[in-house]
Symmetry: C2
C-alpha cells in the first residue's frame, strides 16, 4: 500500500470512529490528518487536504485545541498559524478521557444527585430511589477512576479500581 493511500484510509477510519463517539466527523478527520503528518499544517493545508471551508477548518482546529489534542505551532518568518497533533497515544487517551468526563459524566452525576431527595415512600418510590442510588454510586466511582487515570496517578488508580471491582 502506498503512503498517501494509507493516510487517506486512516483519515477516513478515524473520522468514522469519532462520529460514533459523538465527535463530529470533520474534527476527527482533522485530528487524523495532523496525526498522519509530522510537519505542522496550516489552515489552508487542512482546507485543501479535506476539501472543507475556512470557517469549518477554523472551528474544528480550535475545538481540537480545546480538547488538548492539537497544539498551535508558529513557524519563524511566517504569519500563519500551523497545527500539530500530540504524538503520544497515551497522552491522547488521557486528554479524551478528561474532556469526556467533564462534559458528560459530571453533568449526569449532578442530575442523579438532585434526584436523590424524593419525599415519597411507597414501594415504587423506594425501588426507584434504589436504582438512582446504584447509578449514582456507579457513575461516581467511574468518574473517580477516570480522574485518576487522567492524572496518571497509577497508585491511586489501582486502589480505586480494586475498591470498585470489590
Amino acid at each position: 500500500m502506498k503512503l498517501e493511500e494509507a493516510k487517506e484510509e486512516f483519515i477516513q477510519a478515524w473520522g468514522a470512529l469519532g462520529s460514533s463517539w459523538g465527535i463530529n466527523r470533520t474534527m476527527s478527520s482533522i485530528h487524523a490528518l495532523l496525526m498522519a503528518n509530522n510537519e505542522p499544517l496550516s489552515t489552508e493545508d487542512i482546507m485543501a487536504a479535506l476539501q472543507i471551508s475556512r470557517g469549518n477548518a477554523n472551528m474544528n482546529t480550535r475545538a481540537l485545541i480545546e480538547w488538548g489534542l492539537v497544539k498551535k505551532h508558529r513557524i519563524a518568518g511566517d504569519r500563519k498559524e500551523f497545527f500539530v497533533a500530540g504524538k503520544d497515544v497515551w497522552e491522547m487517551a488521557r486528554q479524551i478521557a478528561k474532556e469526556r468526563r467533564k462534559r458528560e459524566l459530571n453533568p449526569v452525576i449532578e442530575s442523579l444527585e438532585n434526584l436523590k431527595d424524593i419525599d415519597e415512600n411507597g414501594e415504587e418510590a423506594e425501588s426507584f430511589k434504589k436504582r438512582i442510588n446504584d447509578l449514582h454510586d456507579f457513575t461516581s466511582e467511574i468518574s473517580g477512576l477516570v480522574d485518576k487515570f487522567t492524572r496518571n496517578d497509577r497508585n491511586w488508580f489501582y486502589r480505586s479500581l480494586l475498591k470498585l471491582l470489590g
Copy 2:
C-alpha cells in the same frame, strides 16, 4: 421532589447522556423510562409516556433488546409484548461495553491492521508506520481489556490491566 417529577427528570438526563454517546435520544429515553418503572411496559405505554409514534417506539425497543439492555416480557392472558430493563447497573455497563467494542473498537482495529503494510521507506513513511503501530497496539490492548470486563473475568482483567499500564 415528587416521584413522577423525578422520573421525568431522570428520563431527560439519561436521554441527554445517550445522545452525547452516539445513541439516539429516544433509545436512551425509553431505557430510562423502563429503568424508572418496575412493572413491564407495553409499546402503547411507552408511546403515551414519551409522546412518540408507534414506529419509533418499536424501532427503539428492538434496538435496546439487541443491545441486551431490555428484555421482552409476556404477561399471561395478554397478547401484547411488554418490556423491562435489566436491574443490575454492572450488568448494564457490561452490555454497553460489549456492544460498543463490537461496533466501534473492532472496526478501527481492523482498519489499522490493513494500514500496517505500507511499502515505502522514507522518513515520513516510517514515522507514519510507527504511529499506526502505536495506535494499533493501544486499541488492541483496550479491546482485550474490555473483553475481559464484559466476560466478568476479574483475574484476567487485572493481569491484562497491569500489563497494559506497565
